[in-house]
Protein backbone atom coordinates (compact mmCIF):
# COMPACT_ATOMS: atom_id res chain seq x y z
CA UNK A 1 0.00 0.00 0.00
CA UNK A 2 1.29 3.45 -0.87
CA UNK A 3 -0.33 6.40 0.76
CA UNK A 4 0.65 10.02 0.90
CA UNK A 5 -1.43 11.70 3.51
CA UNK A 6 -1.14 15.41 3.95
CA UNK A 7 -2.30 16.81 7.27
CA UNK A 8 -5.16 19.30 7.08
CA UNK A 9 -4.10 22.88 6.49
CA UNK A 10 -4.99 23.85 10.04
CA UNK A 11 -2.41 21.48 11.47
CA UNK A 12 0.51 22.88 9.50
CA UNK A 13 2.56 25.93 10.50
CA UNK A 14 1.97 28.80 8.05
CA UNK A 15 5.62 28.76 6.99
CA UNK A 16 5.20 25.30 5.53
CA UNK A 17 2.14 26.32 3.57
CA UNK A 18 4.03 28.90 1.54
CA UNK A 19 4.69 27.82 -1.99
CA UNK A 20 2.13 25.06 -1.89
CA UNK A 21 -0.77 25.62 -4.19
CA UNK A 22 -3.37 23.57 -2.40
CA UNK A 23 -2.11 21.13 0.17
CA UNK A 24 -5.61 19.73 0.72
CA UNK A 25 -5.62 18.15 -2.72
CA UNK A 26 -2.37 16.27 -2.20
CA UNK A 27 -4.10 13.43 -0.40
CA UNK A 28 -3.79 10.32 -2.46
CA UNK A 29 -4.57 6.91 -1.19
CA UNK A 30 -4.14 3.62 -2.89
CA UNK A 31 -6.78 1.18 -1.67
CA UNK A 32 -5.31 -1.45 0.56
CA UNK A 33 -6.20 -4.72 -1.09
CA UNK A 34 -5.15 -6.65 1.98
CA UNK A 35 -7.58 -4.83 4.28
CA UNK A 36 -9.98 -7.59 5.36
CA UNK A 37 -7.41 -9.41 7.47
CA UNK A 38 -10.16 -10.16 9.96
CA UNK A 39 -13.87 -10.29 9.30
CA UNK A 40 -15.84 -7.58 11.04
CA UNK A 41 -18.74 -8.91 13.03
CA UNK A 42 -21.97 -7.23 14.06
CA UNK A 43 -24.68 -8.31 16.44
CA UNK A 44 -27.90 -6.33 16.43
CA UNK A 45 -30.38 -6.95 19.22
CA UNK A 46 -33.68 -6.00 17.61
CA UNK A 47 -35.89 -5.28 20.60
CA UNK A 48 -38.29 -2.48 19.72
CA UNK A 49 -40.13 -3.47 16.55
CA UNK A 50 -41.03 0.19 15.82
CA UNK A 51 -40.95 1.04 12.13
CA UNK A 52 -38.12 3.57 12.35
CA UNK A 53 -36.04 1.17 14.40
CA UNK A 54 -36.76 -1.71 12.05
CA UNK A 55 -35.42 0.59 9.38
CA UNK A 56 -32.25 1.20 11.38
CA UNK A 57 -31.85 -2.53 12.02
CA UNK A 58 -32.36 -3.58 8.40
CA UNK A 59 -30.24 -0.76 6.92
CA UNK A 60 -27.35 -1.58 9.25
CA UNK A 61 -27.71 -5.32 8.71
CA UNK A 62 -27.86 -5.13 4.90
CA UNK A 63 -25.20 -2.40 4.70
CA UNK A 64 -22.82 -4.35 6.92
CA UNK A 65 -23.40 -7.56 4.97
CA UNK A 66 -22.75 -5.65 1.74
CA UNK A 67 -19.47 -4.45 3.25
CA UNK A 68 -18.37 -8.00 3.96
CA UNK A 69 -19.30 -8.11 7.64
CA UNK A 70 -20.62 -11.21 9.32
CA UNK A 71 -23.99 -10.07 10.69
CA UNK A 72 -26.31 -11.57 13.30
CA UNK A 73 -29.67 -10.10 14.25
CA UNK A 74 -31.29 -11.33 17.43
CA UNK A 75 -35.04 -10.70 17.51
CA UNK A 76 -36.57 -10.33 20.93
CA UNK A 77 -39.69 -8.99 22.64
CA UNK A 78 -41.48 -6.35 20.52
CA UNK A 79 -38.78 -6.84 17.94
CA UNK A 80 -39.90 -10.46 17.59
CA UNK A 81 -43.21 -9.67 15.85
CA UNK A 82 -41.57 -8.47 12.59
CA UNK A 83 -40.19 -12.00 12.13
CA UNK A 84 -43.71 -13.39 11.75
CA UNK A 85 -44.43 -14.17 8.11
CA UNK A 86 -46.98 -12.22 6.09
CA UNK A 87 -50.43 -13.76 6.16
CA UNK A 88 -50.23 -14.85 9.78
CA UNK A 89 -52.63 -12.46 11.47
CA UNK A 90 -53.12 -13.93 14.92
CA UNK A 91 -50.40 -15.68 16.84
CA UNK A 92 -50.56 -17.28 20.28
CA UNK A 93 -52.35 -20.19 21.86
CA UNK A 94 -54.19 -18.55 24.75
CA UNK A 95 -56.38 -15.44 24.91
CA UNK A 96 -53.69 -13.19 26.32
CA UNK A 97 -51.17 -14.09 23.62
CA UNK A 98 -53.85 -13.68 20.96
CA UNK A 99 -54.87 -10.33 22.38
CA UNK A 100 -51.24 -9.26 22.10
CA UNK A 101 -51.24 -10.12 18.39
CA UNK A 102 -54.54 -8.28 17.92
CA UNK A 103 -53.16 -5.12 19.53
CA UNK A 104 -49.71 -5.45 17.98
CA UNK A 105 -50.18 -6.80 14.49
CA UNK A 106 -47.33 -9.21 13.61
CA UNK A 107 -45.26 -8.94 10.44
CA UNK A 108 -42.59 -6.47 9.39
CA UNK A 109 -45.03 -4.66 7.05
CA UNK A 110 -47.23 -3.77 10.01
CA UNK A 111 -44.62 -2.13 12.23
CA UNK A 112 -45.89 1.09 13.79
CA UNK A 113 -43.99 4.32 14.19
CA UNK A 114 -43.16 5.29 17.77
CA UNK A 115 -44.37 8.84 17.01
CA UNK A 116 -47.33 10.00 14.93
CA UNK A 117 -48.68 6.54 14.26
CA UNK A 118 -52.28 7.86 13.97
CA UNK A 119 -53.83 4.43 13.38
CA UNK A 120 -51.38 3.63 10.61
CA UNK A 121 -51.42 7.00 8.82
CA UNK A 122 -47.88 7.74 10.03
CA UNK A 123 -46.29 4.56 8.68
CA UNK A 124 -48.30 4.88 5.44
CA UNK A 125 -46.98 8.40 4.84
CA UNK A 126 -43.48 7.42 5.91
CA UNK A 127 -43.42 4.58 3.36
CA UNK A 128 -44.84 6.90 0.71
CA UNK A 129 -41.98 9.34 1.37
CA UNK A 130 -39.50 6.49 1.38
CA UNK A 131 -40.69 5.26 -2.00
CA UNK A 132 -40.46 8.75 -3.44
CA UNK A 133 -36.86 8.98 -2.24
CA UNK A 134 -35.74 5.55 -3.39
CA UNK A 135 -35.52 4.16 0.15
CA UNK A 136 -36.29 0.45 0.41
CA UNK A 137 -38.81 -0.71 3.02
CA UNK A 138 -37.64 -2.74 6.00
CA UNK A 139 -39.12 -5.92 4.51
CA UNK A 140 -37.15 -5.50 1.27
CA UNK A 141 -33.97 -4.70 3.19
CA UNK A 142 -34.47 -7.74 5.40
CA UNK A 143 -34.87 -9.93 2.30
CA UNK A 144 -31.67 -8.51 0.82
CA UNK A 145 -29.89 -9.02 4.14
CA UNK A 146 -31.01 -12.65 4.15
CA UNK A 147 -29.82 -13.09 0.57
CA UNK A 148 -26.40 -11.81 1.67
CA UNK A 149 -26.22 -14.34 4.48
CA UNK A 150 -27.29 -12.30 7.52
CA UNK A 151 -28.21 -14.64 10.37
CA UNK A 152 -31.70 -14.00 11.74
CA UNK A 153 -31.87 -15.44 15.23
CA UNK A 154 -35.18 -15.71 17.10
CA UNK A 155 -35.27 -15.40 20.89
CA UNK A 156 -36.62 -18.60 22.39
CA UNK A 157 -37.99 -16.86 25.47
CA UNK A 158 -39.99 -14.31 23.42
CA UNK A 159 -41.26 -17.08 21.22
CA UNK A 160 -42.56 -19.08 24.20
CA UNK A 161 -43.97 -16.06 25.98
CA UNK A 162 -45.84 -14.74 22.96
CA UNK A 163 -46.90 -18.25 21.92
CA UNK A 164 -45.37 -17.94 18.45
CA UNK A 165 -44.53 -21.19 16.65
CA UNK A 166 -41.64 -21.91 14.26
CA UNK A 167 -44.12 -22.22 11.38
CA UNK A 168 -45.38 -18.66 12.07
CA UNK A 169 -41.93 -17.27 11.24
CA UNK A 170 -40.54 -16.26 7.85
CA UNK A 171 -38.37 -18.81 6.04
CA UNK A 172 -34.66 -18.99 6.62
CA UNK A 173 -34.44 -18.01 10.29
CA UNK A 174 -31.97 -19.85 12.50
CA UNK A 175 -32.63 -22.01 15.53
CA UNK A 176 -34.15 -20.01 18.41
CA UNK A 177 -31.59 -19.35 21.15
CA UNK A 178 -31.17 -17.60 24.48
CA UNK A 179 -28.98 -15.06 26.19
CA UNK A 180 -25.90 -17.31 26.50
CA UNK A 181 -25.61 -17.63 22.72
CA UNK A 182 -26.01 -13.87 22.29
CA UNK A 183 -23.31 -13.22 24.89
CA UNK A 184 -21.00 -15.72 23.24
CA UNK A 185 -21.34 -13.87 19.92
CA UNK A 186 -20.48 -10.59 21.66
CA UNK A 187 -17.59 -12.19 23.55
CA UNK A 188 -16.18 -13.52 20.29
CA UNK A 189 -15.71 -9.93 19.14
CA UNK A 190 -18.95 -8.88 17.46
CA UNK A 191 -19.94 -5.24 17.83
CA UNK A 192 -23.23 -5.27 19.74
CA UNK A 193 -26.03 -2.82 18.98
CA UNK A 194 -29.28 -2.65 20.90
CA UNK A 195 -32.01 -1.25 18.70
Amino acid sequence: MTATITPPRAMLPPSLLEGLDDPDTLVETEPDTAVPAKTNELLIICESGDLERMWATTILASGAAASGWNVNVFFTFWGFFPLVKPGVRITGTNWMQRMLAVMNRPGIDHAKTSKFNFLGMGPWMMKKLAKKNGVAEPRELLEMAQAMGVHLIPCQMSMDMMGIRREDLIDGVEEPVGVATVLEIIASGATPLFI
Partner: protein, 78 residues
Protein backbone atom coordinates in the same frame (compact mmCIF):
# COMPACT_ATOMS: atom_id res chain seq x y z
CA UNK B 1 -5.82 -10.12 -13.92
CA UNK B 2 -7.83 -7.01 -14.65
CA UNK B 3 -9.98 -6.89 -17.74
CA UNK B 4 -10.45 -3.63 -19.62
CA UNK B 5 -14.12 -4.14 -20.39
CA UNK B 6 -16.93 -3.22 -18.00
CA UNK B 7 -18.20 -6.62 -16.87
CA UNK B 8 -21.24 -5.35 -15.03
CA UNK B 9 -23.22 -2.16 -14.64
CA UNK B 10 -25.22 -1.32 -11.54
CA UNK B 11 -27.88 1.31 -12.04
CA UNK B 12 -28.56 2.77 -8.61
CA UNK B 13 -29.92 6.06 -9.88
CA UNK B 14 -32.78 7.33 -7.74
CA UNK B 15 -31.93 4.93 -4.91
CA UNK B 16 -31.05 5.94 -1.38
CA UNK B 17 -28.76 4.50 1.25
CA UNK B 18 -28.05 1.60 1.66
CA UNK B 19 -29.27 0.40 -1.76
CA UNK B 20 -26.35 1.61 -3.92
CA UNK B 21 -23.79 -0.41 -1.95
CA UNK B 22 -26.18 -3.31 -1.30
CA UNK B 23 -27.01 -3.64 -5.01
CA UNK B 24 -23.34 -3.35 -5.92
CA UNK B 25 -22.28 -5.91 -3.33
CA UNK B 26 -24.89 -8.36 -4.60
CA UNK B 27 -23.83 -7.75 -8.20
CA UNK B 28 -20.08 -8.22 -7.70
CA UNK B 29 -20.48 -11.37 -5.62
CA UNK B 30 -20.68 -13.71 -8.59
CA UNK B 31 -18.21 -11.89 -10.83
CA UNK B 32 -14.65 -13.19 -11.28
CA UNK B 33 -11.86 -11.37 -9.50
CA UNK B 34 -10.50 -8.45 -11.51
CA UNK B 35 -13.82 -7.66 -13.23
CA UNK B 36 -14.57 -4.03 -13.92
CA UNK B 37 -17.85 -2.80 -12.47
CA UNK B 38 -19.54 0.50 -13.20
CA UNK B 39 -22.04 2.00 -10.79
CA UNK B 40 -24.33 4.92 -11.53
CA UNK B 41 -25.94 6.69 -8.58
CA UNK B 42 -27.67 9.94 -7.75
CA UNK B 43 -27.32 9.75 -3.96
CA UNK B 44 -24.77 12.43 -2.97
CA UNK B 45 -23.82 10.34 0.07
CA UNK B 46 -22.63 7.57 -2.23
CA UNK B 47 -19.40 9.45 -2.99
CA UNK B 48 -18.06 8.98 0.52
CA UNK B 49 -19.86 5.68 0.91
CA UNK B 50 -18.23 4.03 -2.08
CA UNK B 51 -14.80 5.20 -0.94
CA UNK B 52 -15.43 3.70 2.50
CA UNK B 53 -17.03 0.60 1.05
CA UNK B 54 -14.11 -0.12 -1.25
CA UNK B 55 -11.67 0.33 1.65
CA UNK B 56 -13.67 -2.05 3.86
CA UNK B 57 -14.24 -4.73 1.26
CA UNK B 58 -10.95 -4.52 -0.64
CA UNK B 59 -12.62 -3.91 -4.01
CA UNK B 60 -10.66 -1.16 -5.70
CA UNK B 61 -12.32 2.13 -6.55
CA UNK B 62 -10.65 3.17 -9.80
CA UNK B 63 -12.58 6.23 -10.67
CA UNK B 64 -15.28 8.42 -9.26
CA UNK B 65 -16.83 11.21 -11.31
CA UNK B 66 -20.00 13.24 -11.59
CA UNK B 67 -21.89 14.43 -14.66
CA UNK B 68 -25.20 16.30 -14.45
CA UNK B 69 -25.90 15.04 -10.94
CA UNK B 70 -25.14 11.41 -11.77
CA UNK B 71 -22.21 9.89 -9.93
CA UNK B 72 -20.22 7.24 -11.72
CA UNK B 73 -17.95 4.82 -9.92
CA UNK B 74 -15.66 2.31 -11.59
CA UNK B 75 -14.51 -0.53 -9.40
CA UNK B 76 -12.29 -3.55 -9.80
CA UNK B 77 -13.64 -6.62 -8.10
CA UNK B 78 -11.25 -7.98 -5.48
Amino acid sequence: MTSTEIAHRVDARGLSCPLPIVRTAMAVKDLPSGSLVEVLATDPGSVKDFTAWSRTTGHRLLNSSVTDGVYRFVLIRK
